[in-house]
């Protein structure tokens, strides 16, 4: 169990949130020009880092807003929470 600071509602228990996978994956501008391998790379391949990872989260049982989070997957330490559309911090 850990507490997440929703950028809109404030600190809430993890139970209220849903994880939404890796953040900042850009949809290719011309999908029709991609090979199957390149399309699969975009669609399925994720980094799944042990350590600091950029993720999307949704406050599913609260304000229902999506936001970004920088989390250390090895110890669940949350480094930073920031809104959708904001630039990811440089490490």
């Amino acid at each position: 169990m850990f507490v997440i600071n929703c950028p809109y509602c404030g600190e809430r228990d993890q139970q209220e949130f849903k994880a939404g996978g890796e953040a900042h994956i850009e949809r290719p501008k011309q999908p029709t020009e991609l090979s199957d391998d390149e399309w699969a790379e975009y669609l399925f391949m994720r980094k799944n880092i042990k350590g600091v990872q950029f993720e999307r989260w949704n406050h599913a049982h609260g304000c229902r807003k999506w936001f970004n989070m920088v989390r250390d997957t090895s110890n669940d330490e949350i480094k930073l929470v920031y809104k959708m559309g904001e630039k990811p911090p440089l490490e």
Partner: protein, 187 residues
Amino acid sequence: MLNYNSILKDEINHNGLSIKEISPIMKLNLRGKKREFFTSVGKNLNMILPTEANTSSSSDKLTSIWLSPDEWMIFSNEGVQKDSNIYELEEKLYNSISKTNLGAVTDVTDQLVLLELKGENIFELFASGSPFNFNEFKDKKGSTTQTLLNNIDVIIHHKDQNLVNLFVRRSFSEHLCSWINDSASRL
């Protein structure tokens, strides 16, 4: 309000805590972010929507609850007509907001059930089934939150001391009430 049966046949009473359904209450969901949306809602409601998270505002007829930065719930403080589900306020809001694409107005009167909890043990009951931290909430009249209670989505409004409004989806309401009945009996 459509003619639904009451979800609670009898008031729940345990350990100085009482729970009953309040019906029929008009409930509207409002969504929008443009500046014109706020001015139009303000004019129609004679009330300013709360912009601070987890708060509410009230007039003599209505209460509005902050749900998200662009979403609110409005409900009538008093009962409305039972034999009709047309509300003058909804029509006014619909015409000035939905039709002009400033935002969305949705009637959720029949979607949500309003339960009124009264007594000193309200937050003890919540603590037995919710991950939300009620420490600041219970000292602040008018505070609101959306959270989980026994894993069911609820909207909670701190109306007054020892008096709380709880909104729950109709389809979950009987399940929640049976949990409340059980949990309140063990406080």
